[in-house]
């Protein structure tokens, strides 16, 4: 059994992995860049190793430094989290070479599925329906233009090297293609170290359905049901749930889509946790999109309805053990919804809003879980993904879960930065959302029809609070006096030197 795990990641997902390590009695090792000395995963881990400057390429993406760290602390396994090196087959191979177990699938399976273009070819051969488009990377903008002209606009440009919305652009017409292609390449290069872009016919306003699979090294492959992740902005998920509301409309869909996912995992010789993503239309037809060869951001919704700890299953599998459950023993119960709390301003096109968190209250209570990397006084660094926490709720029914979500969102306050919480507070009151009428075009349409309820009472309170704050916080003489925790540390150290 694994004794010590180095977590090659940061923030909320590193905290998430530390929690399961500690519950299992496994030592956890955090790594951190210059930007993350004060981050929660560093505070909570048993051990920690500095791995480089703030830039991810020199720290969290630096394979050599991470393996050096694993060697130095004697870790016998590495959990990659999501993002960063989690889908990097070369990293998995380097781990194997260094004698450290990579907690994830084999490099071969990652290569096959990690290349979105190769995966599309493989799925097409295996008889799984795929979205029309290229199965090779595009050489340049000209080839992109030619291909787009052939399959017809709108098209989707996508990074061959990774998912998560990075390096992805929806292009409506030919004149926007050139700059979109260059931006997508730039993002893809930076996010995945691979600038390759391919093209797909854009399916207008599809539903995004995905299936969690889990496979051990003894040939057992199971699925843990589907998730629906149709609420997206910038092609990135913001809210996920399980079961999929679409399945309520098309009951046959669950059996079909989970079977396709298990087939896909088997065809790839897959082990450990993975997610097979599909686009589906309103009629319940579905198309293979890609497979994410790692733990997903949204894995908690599956944990909430199955009662399983997916990180624990990952560690068991990596230790050579069998999955703790067979397919027929997986018991699903109730409904779970996750909201991604991004440091972004939903009133300003979801632009990033890094900075210091001056006040923080996270909700809890029945059916409420928060997977967070944040704490009061912490400054969200500008260098990394703006996801600071995830709010997950569970109840017996979808309506019940939405009720609990409303209650939890009311309690959740983050001061000092903007977050997506305000957006979710409106979404949970939205009639279409509550009825499960969601697809990837939801947010765009919602913006248009967005209800403006009468909040004159709250407006009066807002004026009163702003005036009170203005007068009592000394703002007249400049910014509110506030003992900055890091400056405080410095002045404290000055005292030591005296």
């Amino acid at each position: 059994m694994i004794q010590k795990i180095l977590i090659a990641n940061r923030a909320e997902i590193a905290v998430r992995v530390i929690r399961t390590c500690r519950a299992m009695g496994i030592a956890s090792v955090a790594v951190y860049s210059d930007a993350d000395r004060a981050s929660l995963h560093v505070r909570l881990a048993d051990e920690c190793v500095w791995i480089g400057p703030a830039a991810a390429a020199e720290s969290y993406l630096n394979i050599e430094r991470i393996l050096e760290a694993a060697g130095a602390v004697g870790a016998d396994a590495i959990h990659p989290g999501y993002g960063f090196l989690s889908e990097n087959a070369a990293f998995a191979e380097a781990c194997e070479k260094a004698g450290v177990k990579f907690i994830g699938p084999s490099a071969a399976a990652m290569r096959l599925m990690g290349s979105k273009t190769r995966a599309r070819r493989a799925m097409r051969e295996a008889g799984v329906p795929v979205v029309p488009g290229t199965t090779e990377p595009l050489a340049n903008a000209a080839e992109a233009a030619a291909t787009a002209a052939k399959i017809g606009y709108p098209v989707m440009l996508k990074a061959a090297g990774g998912g998560g919305g990075k390096g992805m652009r929806l292009v409506a017409s030919a004149d926007a293609l050139g700059s979109a292609f260059e931006q997508a390449r730039g993002e893809a290069r930076q996010a995945f170290g691979n600038p390759d872009i391919y093209i797909e016919k854009a399916i207008r306003n599809p539903r995004h359905i995905e299936v969690q699979v889990m496979a051990d090294e003894h040939g057992n492959v199971i699925h843990l049901g589907e998730r629906e992740c149709s609420l997206q902005r910038r092609h990135q998920k913001v809210l996920e749930e399980a079961p999929a509301p679409l399945v309520a409309e098309h009951p046959r869909l669950r059996a079909e889509i989970t079977r396709a996912a298990v087939d896909a995992a088997k065809a790839a010789g897959y082990t450990n946790a993975g997610t097979v993503e599909f686009l589906a239309d309103a009629k319940g037809h579905f198309y293979f999109l890609e497979m994410n060869t790692r733990l997903q951001v949204e894995h908690p919704v599956t944990e909430m309805i199955t009662g399983l700890d997916l990180v624990r299953e990952q560690i068991r599998v990596a230790s050579g053990e069998r999955l703790s459950v067979a397919q027929e023993d997986v018991r699903m119960r109730g409904h779970a919804i996750e909201c991604r709390v991004y440091a972004e301003d939903p009133e300003n096109e979801f632009l990033p809003s890094p900075g210091r968190i001056t006040s923080l209250a996270e909700p809890s209570g029945p059916g409420v879980r928060v997977d967070s990397g944040a704490y009061e006084g912490w400054a969200v660094p500008i260098e990394y993904d703006p996801l600071i926490a995830k709010l997950i709720v569970w109840d017996e029914t979808r309506a019940g879960a939405i009720g609990r979500l409303r209650s939890a969102l009311r309690e959740y306050t983050v001061g000092g930065i903007h977050t997506t919480l305000g957006f979710f507070r409106e979404v949970v009151e939205d009639e279409d959302f509550c009825a499960g009428r969601i697809d990837t075009g939801f947010i765009g349409r919602w913006r248009q029809r967005r209800a403006k309820p009468d909040r004159s009472r709250e407006q009066r309170i807002a004026v009163l609070a702003a005036g009170f704050h203005y007068l009592t916080s000394g703002r007249e003489e400049g910014p509110a006096p506030r003992r900055d925790k890091s400056e405080w540390g410095i002045s404290g150290r000055d005292a030591l030197l005296r």
């Binding site: 990033p352 001056t358 500008i382 993904d385 919480l421 305000g422 309170i461 004026v463 009163l464």
Partner: protein
Amino acid sequence: MKLTTTVDGVEQTLELSGARAASSIVSFTLDSQAGQADIIPTGAAAYSIMHDGLSYQVTVHDGADGSFQVEVNGFAHQVEVRDARRWIRGGGAAAAAGARKIKAPMPGRVVKLLVQTGDDVEAGQGVIIVEAMKMQNEMKAAKAGKVGRLEVAAGDSVAAGQTLLSIE
């Protein structure tokens, strides 16, 4: 203390006075309507406010230029506060006119300038790309005009609210 405020675009006059120093009760007059509220701080720029029997949780985000984003029970309102002294010192309404500045919406790094000083731009045209949190964002001209001074160059780190360039 008399203040001029703007909430969600509507101007209102607010007058505040504390009843007693040790009490949490504040008397106020808002657009000629007098009232009382019970205000206590619950954190840095966070308050619990009671008014008319209702309980409100409030956080105040200090913005630039005397503007605040105030969250009341989770819903955001834009409030600007001015008192007479400050308003006059700042140049009054005259200061609000002039060139339209494009400011960095968040701390980040300038990736590319898409225009030069003197270029004519249309409303909505992309003028500069700023990267933060692994995302490249194209900033657009809010109005048609001529590009004025470029305040930054590619590769520069910029702070939130920093002026990048102006459209005249």
